[in-house]
Amino acid sequence: MTATTSATGIGAPVRRKEDFRFITGQGQYTDDVTRPGETKAVFVRSPHAHANIKSIDVSAARKMPGVVDVLTGAQLATDKIGNLICGWMIHSKDGSPMKMSAHPALASTKVNCVGDAVAVVIAETIAQGKDAAEKVVVDYEVLTAVVDPAKAQAKGAPQIHPDIVNNTIYQWHLGEKKDVDAAFAAAKHVTKLDIVNNRLVPNAMEPRAALADYDVGTENLTLWNTSQNPHVARLVISAFIGMAPEHKLRVIAPDVGGGFGSKIFIYPEEVVCLWASRKVKRPVKWTSDRSEAFLTDAHGRDHVTHAELALDANGKILALRAKTIANLGAYMSTFSSSVPTYLYATLLSGQYNIPSIYCEVDAVYTNTAPVDAYRGAGRPEATFVVERLVEVAARQMAIDPADLRRRNFITAFPHQTPVIMAYDAGDYNASLKKAMDLADVKGFAKRKREAARHGKLRGLGYSTYIEACGIAPSQAVGSLGAGVGLWESAEVRVNPTGSVEVLTGSHAHGQGHETTFAQLVSERLGIPFENVSIVHGDTDKVQFGMGTYGSRSGAVGMSAIVKALDKIEIKAKKVAAFMLEAAEGDIEFKDGKFTVAGTDKSAGFGDVALNAYIAHKFTGAELEPGLKETSFYDPTNFTFPAGCHICELDVDIETGKVDIVNWTAVDDFGTIINPMIVEGQVHGGIAQGVGQALMEGAYYDAAGQLVTGSMMDYTMPRAHDLPSFHVGLTMTKSPSNPLGMKGCGEAGAIAAPAAVINAITDAIGTENIAMPATANAVWAALQKSQAPKAA
């Protein structure tokens, strides 16, 4: 590394380039974009969870001041605007395809959840739009609702979609049932748990927004949108919804303020804005308010699971089986079907050598908001099942929980699990040991006694998690039902002055790509970090790309950049060879300098870039001018970040309130580009995981009304709820991508819930407690566990 890049290259904790504009209010988010003649869209939403629409009367609304148009689902159908779709096909165990209901962007005959849009007012101002929306008269015939996934399949449950019986989308399975049943029959010990993985509301800081602009002259449609994957949005909106040919539709996802998965999906609102803009021939903007976000953003999790673990007398795991009912809500969101199947059951081996695993998953419709990927997506649910089972088994068998984990850790790689995944690298003992040292597990007993003197029950909980990231080899996911490939693209454009633009198919919505991607380029080309710009999020600028989710931007997105940089180096060496009048094979490239091997003849990167464009040293027949390369990188495997989190907490005996006093996270993310950004990702992930474990929970009442519809009732974690984290790293490089990266964005959210619940149950001496473990819930559990003693 040269002096110019060492402070900014791979492994340097470079301050984020993008933060100046974010923290000074200079970011350009979708709602900041305004177009001349812009109108506002206000949606008329169903107040009922389940109802037939008998009629919609928009005549009074049309006459309201400032109203440009009022549109309904009937017109949407007339204009042949297609339904929203789920793009991952899952087949049931009987071979039948999943049952995807129609999902029109505006409901015209029936509403299936509170917040379902039935009409849209296009008005000059939001206030005028809201006034007019109140004048839209919808005659509903209210139907009984079902919100509980465990009740959705019951006889007599209200049927949500006319052609889908028992509200069952699919009945899927993975693994060999016969082997698992045999292992259980022979097992010395069986641990059983009933687990609810609570429904969560994503709550990105920036609410969703869409601005559509139809150009009458060119018939081009432009959509500014809060999207994690603008090309995928364009593809779906064009190919499936039929809004416009792909080349006549431009999707721009400018600065996006957080997504956590919820902005992967194609939502009704952007479809309606595009359609409305074409109809009224003016720009149409919608920005969700927080209340709409609670009702209409795709929620996360919502699994009901019965799980069992079979062990021999020595605590060796023999088999695992699980039956899960996954609530997908009123409609199948864009990737919803994959989350409780291939992103969940494939991780049920955890870090352990488990000979056989069998998992059944029923996905059901309910009268609730759609559920789809949310930070971790399936992997937090799997980790929670595995880590709770292991912990409870250890306690039941009176084996130290860390020891039981050690006895079952996978230690040889590659390792083929019984549930598809082939782990390529890892050292689970190393992360456990380092975490136990950092957490001072040895001193825990003493701290527990000390806490007891202050009326506190202290507990300690482990979570030795694994996740599959770097999503994913296209052929593999194709064979599992994905409708797309999950490669990534990059274009590296070297300018004549030697500065560089990288056009990436990845999309940043908080991850800091403008910094980390520039660090990679700076190091590889030996040019100053400041001379690199990262361009993303505009389908007119950037070649087709797959976007950012599943902790894939490093392992897949940066690998594409590496490949393009390799090509740049090859081409630049050709240019340098002409400049230095040497054979191409004699040119060496190091620290931003091209040198003729064994001589002092050299050319700087900038000189070579200029010569590539002025093309004075070679003829067009010898070499094409220019220095710009594109690559599409398809990974060879998933990556498998793993680690150990240890939560130490106090329970106030009198109130049940939980205070986390110590958090240790030791993660193996493979190669790290920017340790500061990685640590930030870990912090944020833990905060979300602790939120799920202790605070967050989306509740619908029996009528399907969202009880937790605002920040006054839905508890988000706050800074004062969390301690300072002890963060450590171990490293095994991923052999599946050129940089050896694994991904870090979801780890905290995946690891944390089990660590918290293991610690609480350790503290209060119960086997199980449901999430969120609120003070009331912990207190109630304490009343039960301590009742005999008290009596």
Binding site: E134, G697, M711, M712, D713, T715, A780
Partner: protein, 266 residues
């Protein structure tokens, strides 16, 4: 938000006159309860009468054996008042526990008391100290003022101008925060002023703030946590929601009362 007319009187008299002329009008104090419901279109006042320019409605003053606080005094100003911190730190701690800095810098004591949110903190302090609520028309004892959830003894056109708190030698507030909103899931204010012993509870009761007479009786012997050790209150009449069961709220009343007593005696 629906349209409304906006008035900014400079005297209480003008404000009362504006209210009389606008039967659907509302007083605007800090606005931190009113404006959110207006934004959600759940309230539609025809007029807002903003009290922020009315003179003589702010400040914390020592008057004899009482602390008198102007109705438009912001929570932050009450919390930071040296006069109050010296005279009665147990009361100064109450506004310091409300919401977040933004709320404390806008919200007012008069607004909070007039709104009588069943989870608000000030009603517990008023009832727990036997405060007097002073309006443009009369003086109302706290015991008569809080008449139920979001309801008070205030009549149409009546404006709170001051609240007078008798100085209690011993008093303290203990609050268990609602995890999402930061309001009191349960809050207990205890005080002892001569023979007058009070235990007032907010957040728990389905009818708003209330006194726990059984605790007060027991504390007459000795004003200490030990005097109510083992005592409970019935869960009947407690609020029930996703955040806390009636049993838990009733349990917290006893726990927080003991903790408040320990704090008051510290």
């Amino acid at each position: 938000m629906y349209n409304f007319t906006f008035h900014r009187p400079t005297t209480v008299r003008q404000a009362a006159g504006l209210l009389a002329r606008n039967p659907d009008g509302k007083l605007l104090a800090g606005g931190h309860s009113l404006l959110p419901v207006m934004k959600q279109r759940l309230a539609q006042p025809s007029a807002l009468v903003d009290l922020s320019l009315v003179e003589g409605m702010t400040g914390v003053e020592l008057k004899g054996r009482s602390v008198v606080i102007g109705a438009m005094t912001r929570h932050a100003d009450v919390a930071n008042s040296q006069v109050l911190k010296d005279a009665m730190p147990g009361l100064a701690a109450v506004p310091g526990s409300i919401g977040d800095p933004q709320v404390r810098n806008r919200g007012t004591i008069g607004g909070s008391i007039a709104n009588n949110d069943p989870n608000a903190d000030y009603p517990a302090a008023c009832l727990g100290l036997g405060a007097t609520i002073i309006t443009n028309k009369r003086r109302i004892a706290a015991d008569d003022f809080f008449t139920g959830m979001f309801s008070t003894a205030l009549e149409d056109g009546e404006i709170i101008t001051k609240i007078s708190f008798p100085i209690a030698k011993k008093c303290a507030y203990e609050k268990f925060k609602h995890p999402a909103s930061g309001f009191a899931l349960v809050g207990v204010f205890v005080s002892k002023r001569g023979p007058d012993i009070r235990v007032a509870v907010t957040g728990a009761g389905s009818n708003g703030v209330f006194r726990v007479k059984s605790f007060e009786e027991a504390l007459k012997k000795r004003f200490a946590a030990k005097s109510i050790e083992g005592m409970t209150i019935p869960a009947n009449g407690m609020n029930s929601d996703i955040h806390a069961s009636p049993e838990y709220r009733a349990h917290l009343v006893a726990v927080l009362a003991r903790r408040a007593l320990a704090k008051a005696n510290a």
